[in-house]
Each structure stands twice: as C-alpha cells, then as structure tokens.
C-alpha cells in the first residue's frame, strides 16, 4: 500500500443527512438554500431510483415514450462563473462559429448515441432528460465537472491544459456521472467514489470507441488525450491500458494511478483518491474487454452497464462488491461457464480484487 499525506486527517466529503437538515433550517440563506436544494434533489433521486429498480417490471407504460433524439442545449459562460450562462445552441440548430460549442454539442450527441444504441437507454435518466452543457466557464479554468444537473467545461489555461471539450471521452465521462447519479448513485468518496470515477472513464472511453468504430485492440484506452497543452510531457490524463503511465512532467508530476490493489493509495485528498484508485477497476475493464476482443461496448460494456443500472449495486459498494456483481451479470447475460464469466473473473484476479 502507498500512503499519500498520511499525517492528514481523513474527512468524508459527503455531508451527513442530519447536518444537511440542520443547515436547511439555518437563518442564513447562503447556508439553508444549497442544503434545501440538496435535500430536495436527493429525495427526488432516491424516489426515482426506488421506482425504477423496484417497479421496473410493473411500471405503468410512460405517458409518452422518450424520444430517440437528444435534446441538447449549449450555454456560454463567457468566462464568468454564473451557471448556466447564455444559450448559444439548441437542438437541431446548425453549427456556429465557436468550435468549443460545436464540440460540446456533438460530444453530447455521441454520448446519447452510445447509451441509446448499445444499451437502449434514453438519455442519462433513461427518460429523455435534456442534456445541458456550459462552456467557457471561468478564466483559464483547468477543469470540467458535473454539477448534478449539467456539464461544465473550462477552456484550460493554455499552459497545462487546453479546452476540455477537446476529448469526446471527457464529455462522455461527465455525462456518465449523470447516469451514475440516476442509477447506482455511488458515493463520491473512497472506493465507491473510485468506482464512480471508473464508470465515467469506462463509458467515456466506450463513447470514443463507438464513435470511431474501434475494436478493443484498436482503441487507445486513454482518457483526456488532446487535453494536455503543447510542451507538457504526456499522452493524456489517464491510461486504462497502463495506469500510471499517462504523463510524467516537470510541472504536472507523474500519473499517480495504480493498476492493482498492491499499489492502492490511501489518502484523504481528492475525495479519498477517487481519481487515483479508479485506475484499478479501469484496468480490470481493459483486461476483460481486450481478452474478449471485438467491440468493447458490446459485451464488456453491457456487463458493466447491467451492474451499474441493475439495482443491486449499493451506493457504498467496494471494488469486491462490484467485481462479484460483474461475474453474476456475465453469467446471467452470457451463460454460466462461458468465456465471459471466466474472462471477467480473471481480469479482477489480475488486478488483485478478490471476488467473495
């Protein structure tokens, strides 16, 4: 085990419900407002998940079937931080002059496509949720995130990072945080947080592979290729094929991702290392998909999707819980004793995750 910042206290970033309750009653609207919105959103999501998992078979037919077309809107923050910003492109409108807006729009389309065509999922909530993204967030902002409702992309500072819409897998990664939120809702801390991150990397990479028509052998298995500014020594931000090798740079440092449990990093930072230890389940997926060969979204991706959305994956799941469910899903979908269930078991074994 590697320890980063061992002397640091480890805090959980997830505000416990009783604290939220207290904040929601605070006289200061700056405190009570966000807490109330969080509570409201959490209870809506919980109810929705319960309905979709428990009543999946018994659900009444929807009043109106969700469309097979996405409903995209791109907003421009014009380097400010107010969200969502000014509406600059709506669904069906022709491309404009801003390449960032056009990339965001087509990246949302590519993501919608994979989920619909490979997994028959209508948008991130499975019910045609409109897809909103804001670009040009803040000045020289070196990040992209999912705020619970929409995607937000920075332009990068031009020295370390360039425009975060450059990589379609980054767009797919952010949207997949939405899918996870509406399904397993993996807690964004520690091992469940690293699984949450890994889901976003796996489907982000599959979106890129699907849009390029690549097989597992042809894919680069990189996350964020095209995000590093010229002069930075590195290929991308993460490598699912070889975690820990994506970059090694004077300014950025070295890619800290482990590929097996032997090198699991214990830290309180980065929500308990969610972007670090995701290397382990990422690598397991890569090993599984390349062992099967062909298009990774068809079998390997299907099994991961089955587990993410199947209702059995707990919010606080550990790697071993997830691994066990993938073996079960492989058996259910492709038969016991088949290549798929053997290959997925072997992949977890190779990264040192025990299946109980």
């Amino acid at each position: 085990m590697t320890t980063h910042g061992g002397s640091e206290p480890v805090f959980c970033t997830v505000v416990p419900p009783h604290v939220l309750d207290r904040l929601a009653r605070n006289d200061d609207p700056a405190l009570s407002g966000p807490a109330r919105r969080t509570l409201l959103r959490d209870s809506e999501l919980r109810a929705r998940r319960r309905v979709t998992t428990e009543f999946r078979l018994a659900a009444a037919p929807a009043a109106k079937a969700p469309s097979d077309q996405p409903l995209r809107t791109i907003y421009d923050c014009a380097h400010g931080t107010d969200l969502p910003g000014a509406k600059v492109r709506s669904e069906g409108q022709d491309p404009g002059r801003d390449a960032t807006v056009n990339r965001a729009y087509s990246g949302l389309g590519a993501t919608f496509d994979l989920y619909l065509k490979a997994y028959q999922r209508h948008s991130i909530d499975g019910d045609g949720l409109p897809l909103d993204a804001s670009v040009h967030y803040d000045e020289g902002y070196n990040n992209a995130f999912w705020n619970g409702e929409q995607m937000v992309f920075g332009d990068g500072d031009g020295e370390i990072f360039v425009d975060f819409t450059n990589s379609v897998d980054v767009i797919g990664h952010e949207l997949t945080h939405g899918v996870t939120q509406y399904t397993a809702n993996l807690t964004y801390y520690g091992q469940p947080g690293a699984l949450n991150e890994s889901m976003s990397d796996v489907f982000g990479s599959l979106i890129k592979q699907y849009s390029l028509g690549q097989t597992a052998a042809e894919a680069d298995w990189l996350i964020g290729a095209g995000l590093l500014a010229p002069g930075v020594t590195g290929a991308a931000l993460r490598s699912m094929k070889a975690p820990g090798t994506a970059y090694d740079d004077d300014v950025l440092g070295k890619d800290p991702q482990p590929s097996t449990m032997d090198d699991y990093v214990r830290t309180g930072r980065d929500n308990g290392g969610v972007h670090i230890n995701s290397g382990i389940p990422n690598h397991a997926f890569y090993l599984f998909a390349t062992a099967l060969g062909g298009h990774a979204w068809e079998k390997a991706g299907q099994i991961w999707y089955d587990v993410l959305t199947g209702g059995e994956l707990q919010e606080k799941a550990f790697f071993t819980d997830f691994a066990g469910l993938t073996v079960k899903a492989a058996r259910e979908r492709f038969g016991d004793g088949g290549d798929e269930s053997q290959a997925v078991k072997k992949a977890w074994e190779q990264v040192g995750v025990r299946i109980l």
Partner: protein, 88 residues
Amino acid sequence: MRIQVRRTGGFAGIERRAEVDTAGRPDADEWHALAERAVAGGRGARPSGVPDGFSYEITVDGERVYAADPRLTAEQRTLISRVLKEGA
C-alpha cells in the same frame, strides 16, 4: 500574514498548492481584507463537492477553512486564483 491554498480533485486529480506571505508587500492590506472575507465564507469541514469539482483548503495564519466548486464565494474565487497564480 501567510495565505496558503491547496487545491485537490478536479477531472485530472492533480494537486496544486501555493503560498503568499504578505509581509513587506505593498498590497498587503488588500490581501488581508480579501483573505479575511474568504475565510469568513469558508466551512470548518470539507463540503461535499460535485463529481470532478475542485476542492480547496484555504489556510490563513494557521486557520484553515474548506470550500468546493462550484459554490465558492466571489472572495474565495479571487483569493484562490491570485494565490495559485502569484504564490510560490
């Protein structure tokens, strides 16, 4: 006054930290006012962030507060970007 900022998380998961010591700086008063307001708007524990959002620790003369994107106050945002840009 020693003002330290540590940023963790983010899509890349790459940590950045920087520090400004205002002693002897001609703009020290401006820094002090900004730092005090940024700390006043901070939290005593790490707030729950959003996926891939940056989280921040702001430490002013040993007093540490926490904040996370996208819910920063204007003063926190300004202080963080100035320290990360101008600090060592």
